[in-house]
Symmetry: C2
Subunit: 150 residues, 2 copies
């Protein structure tokens, strides 16, 4: 069984993360892996915010997975803190090896450690395989996710 270590992303991981974001049916049209400038600025913001955890899965020094976990305090549900998972990607070379589940389990454990009572994420309605994956991990697709592009 392959062993992955999950760790906070560093600045040198940006190119590998962006390559994974772009190597995706939906991401291909939305990313610009040839120009990392906007990603570097975004990374600075993430790094300076203690409620943002951008992580990578590392296999022998190679970045093969990523996700972003955001911690959101709030008043509702008796002052519950929730977490939001965004930007989950597994490198093409590494799919089907259980890394997706390991990354989500990391996010759930970290959320619990940070006192969250709820973990949430949205997944494009077209990603039906992803939906089955999240259901297997115990998530319930109880909500409709609305987006407005600005």
């Amino acid at each position: 069984m392959t062993t992955f270590s999950i760790r906070l992303a560093v600045r040198d991981d940006i190119a590998a993360i962006v390559a994974m974001l772009a190597d995706d049916a939906l991401g291909a049209t939305r990313e610009s892996p040839d120009d990392l400038t906007p990603y570097r600025s975004a990374y600075e913001r993430l790094e300076s915010d203690p409620n943002q955890l951008l992580v990578v899965a590392d296999r022998g020094g190679e970045v093969v997975g990523t996700l972003q976990l955001t911690i959101i305090p709030g008043l509702s549900r008796r002052g519950s803190t929730r977490s939001v998972i965004e930007g989950v990607r597994i490198h093409r070379s590494t799919r089907g090896q259980g890394l997706g589940a390991q990354l989500i389990e990391w996010a759930v454990d970290e959320s619990r450690r940070q006192g969250c009572q709820l973990v949430q994420l949205t997944s494009d309605s077209a990603r039906t395989e992803a939906h089955r994956f999240y259901e297997r991990l115990g998530f319930t697709g109880s909500h409709v996710g609305f987006k407005l592009q600005l």
Copy 2:
């Protein structure tokens, strides 16, 4: 036409906000308006985080609406910043007067002002009236929202 002012919530607004969170088919089972202690702790966390904007709609000194806007930087979509809207409530006395739309429009304008490229929210699948409301405001229900209780 009634005029509402939308402003950041202050500590003295907590009881009014919690009363609105609890006065709701789903919220009734999840909130404890008789014990504000957990809400006060959560408010302290919100207040100390510049990416959290808890606002109320105020009509002549009376709190009649609320929502929470969270600003989330990220790498995906060329380093886009997105915002998330949570905890939208309108006081029972004030429904049908356009305040919901005014609050969401405030959130959209503020998101734009903060450089966000995307505004998102999830709404329980049971809230079909809310779904039509968000669609009228230009949102697209393109995603499935998954939740995991911890």
